[in-house]
Symmetry: C2
Subunit: 107 residues, 2 copies
């Protein structure tokens, strides 16, 4: 469930959101978006958790891949519907991952 | 609950973790670390969610602030205890935030 990502550098998209109380197809859309993201060129992995807020981090090889994914038609439609139905608010932050350490490697 | 962050550039630390089944003071430590982080120079905000995995993203003004926080004594002790007790595994990714958009600003 923790994404296995390649050597640096790569990019992370941090999507933080607060949901409305409208459930209409939300889970189905969320699953579909992860499926669809996985099919995109340059997709490296995804991590997701939600309780009070939701945080989904997707990892990508380069900015161009993120831009392509942003402009994917089905993804664009889902975002538009998200703004109308599912999300009270959200923030998207596009980041360059510069350093990584994990359970084993940290000193 | 979504962090309000200043103009770019700033930095994000993405901490992704899988918990053990050991609860021993975990919630207390997690709350204390957020309290303590908020007191550090250069801290800008934090977002956190957990179900199958936990994702905590903290935001900082510069890499030096992240390094200072990493070397904070109480934080270091909590990480060591985390490795022994609370976490099966974790990954920390230090990122430079390069672009941001939100509910209102996205086209």
């Amino acid at each position: 469930m923790i994404a296995t990502t390649p050597n640096l550098p790569y990019y992370a998209v941090i999507f933080t959101s607060v949901r409305t109380e409208i459930d209409e197809n939300y889970e189905k859309m969320a699953e579909r978006m992860i499926e669809l993201a996985q099919l995109q060129k340059g997709f490296l992995g995804v991590e997701s958790a939600r309780n009070d807020i939701g945080i989904t981090v997707s990892y990508w090889d380069r900015l161009e891949s993120i831009s392509n994914w942003k402009h994917n038609l089905e993804h664009t439609e889902a975002r538009e519907k998200g703004r109308k139905l599912w999300y009270k608010k959200f923030t998207v932050r596009i980041c360059k991952v510069e350093r990584v350490y994990d359970f084993e490697t940290e000193l």
